[in-house]
């Protein structure tokens, strides 16, 4: 059930000059969240900025009794709203609408899960990792960023027994280059008899590369797309992506309600903006 909650900011932890994590008290949303779902967030009341922005739900927070009490958001300052979120004070409030969207589907053994995160695309993999761990699925996280200082929260994944492969564009940590390189290496070495599902979240150019690799190695791939959104509920048709269809005409679907998670083979990648 979708709710709109005035959430209290519990903490704002700076991770770097660009990244921070906000913890929000929203038990109603935390209790229902599935991996890969998102919120439409409005940090300040008033007409500027007017529209909410979509954010993947990062972690589910629990109270001492183990009940879900809130969620966190992984934020990167790029524009007006993310700038406001970078500076949001504990004790202040913000509107959170959700949980929204089609979640990732966690796989069960003997299938293995390979998560591929680019930068702030790490966000949905916290909840997905917990879900995979509950099923005791053997999982790997491929995580890439521009430089080592932008790789965060590795301890969450380590604690869950997830194998981590890192890459940075400047080579300051892990392999030098894009995360898709070690992914391809792993795909090429993985025997067809082993069932592997790939999960991806990050810049659209990365998603396209992962989708292409998954297809060429015969692996199913679930991607979480990122599009400018107006309402998050399917009302405005702003967030569409092109999908494959039999006819020659373009076919657009709303990524807020038919996504943000799609099977990569459904998407008409040639026309995806990036």
């Amino acid at each position: 059930m979708v709710v709109d909650v005035e959430a209290t900011v519990l903490s704002n932890v700076r991770l770097s000059d660009e990244y921070n994590v906000l913890e929000l008290e929203v038990p109603e949303i935390a209790a229902q969240t599935k991996p890969g779902q998102f919120l439409m967030v409005k940090p300040e009341m008033g007409p500027d900025p007017l529209l909410r922005r979509p954010f993947s739900i990062f972690e589910i927070l629990h109270d001492q009794k183990g009940n879900p009490k809130g969620i966190s958001l992984l934020n990167k300052r790029v524009g007006i709203t993310t700038e406001l979120l970078f500076h949001k004070q504990p004790g202040s409030h913000m509107m959170c609408l959700g949980p929204l969207g089609r979640p990732y589907k966690p796989v069960c053994p003997p299938t293995e899960a390979w998560m591929v995160a680019g930068g702030v695309g790490l966000a949905p993999f916290a909840t997905l990792s917990y879900a995979l761990a509950k099923h005791q699925t053997i999982s790997t996280l491929f995580y890439g960023a521009r430089h080592g200082g932008d790789l965060f929260y590795l301890d969450i994944f380590e604690r869950l027994g997830i194998r981590i492969v890192l890459a940075t564009e400047d080579g300051s940590r892990g392999e030098k280059g894009q995360i898709t390189a070690p992914l391809e290496n792993a795909l090429s070495k993985s025997p067809p008899s082993k069932d592997v599902v790939v999960y991806a979240c990050g810049p659209t150019a990365m998603l396209k590369k992962v989708a292409t690799l998954a297809e060429s190695y015969g692996r199913t791939c679930q991607v979480s797309v990122e599009q400018v959104m107006g309402c998050g509920l399917g009302g405005c048709y702003s967030c569409v992506i092109p999908v494959n269809k039999d006819s020659k005409s373009r076919h657009y679907v709303r990524s807020c309600i038919e996504g943000p998670v799609f099977l990569s083979e459904e998407i008409f990648w040639e026309e995806m903006d990036y």
């Binding site: 059930m1 979708v2 709109d4 409005k42 007409p47 500027d48 900025p49 007017l50 529209l51 909410r52 509107m95 609408l97 599009q227 400018v228 107006g230 309402c231 509920l233 399917g234 009302g235 405005c236 048709y237 702003s238 967030c239 569409v240 992506i241 092109p242 005409s249 373009r250 076919h251 657009y252 309600i257 026309e271 903006d273």
Partner: protein, 308 residues
Amino acid sequence: MDLSIKLGQLHLKNPLIAASGCFGYGVEYANVVDLSTLGGIVVKGLFLEERSGHPPTRIVETPSGMLNAIGLQGIGVHQFIQEKLPELRLYRTAVIVNICGSTTDEYAELARILSDAEGVDALELNVSCPNIKEGGIEFGCNPGGIGEVVSRVRQATHLPIIPKLTPNVEDIASLAIAAEEAGANAISLVNTFLAMAIDVETKRPKLSNVLGGLSGPAIRPIAVRMVYECHKAVSIPIIGMGGIMNSTDVLEFIIAGSSAVQIGTANFVDPFIWPKLLKGIREYAHRKDIHRLNELVGSITTEDQETV
């Protein structure tokens, strides 16, 4: 307080209507909001055929507003009747279908088809969408065009007809008069304002369609002025819209001359806005000792004030 409104044959339980293009086909919101809270829903504009709409980027936020160039993506009237209408008509809210065409024949055909469909309470004529290359705009920008479309649709249906007027004209009141003379039961205004935004780094327009329609609080004062002008010019009821964000804005439009209002952009920001608007209207009515909402329609006082 009696919030009911009569728009000709169309009776609404309250003056709040969801604007076309801002509420999907209504069914998307059925599990999120109580649709019976709304006086009516105008569904997303329908052509005879399916339409894919424009490529992304389709929206841009602007100061106190937004631009949209969705491109009237739609499932077409037949799919709407088969797949959406049966569910939508179950909810206790008026169903107003927004229709779009490239020729007057198409509007008339849509009107005929929808007149036979069970559950349609009225037709809103999209003769003003700035987001498409063909159709709509040509009819909507002059009184002759409006008169022609409304007359043809009038012949094709007994349903209440509500042309939605474009504000991208010099004299919107003349469009209102033409609509009334041709047999419209009411008019709705305003549609979005033709506008654009440019990315200074890439030097490209921010919308894939280059141009789009501006909506949101930024346009409200112009929309209020246009409702005021049309109300002075015609007797048929006016459905006002343009940047309404709260109950004060709703009341402003009613006092200016609207019998009902549409909410579009504000619904993106707060999908649970509807009961809040009703609450605010009731509080005002209690404060002002008003018992029926239609006492307020067009009640602006301009004694001792003259427009320069």
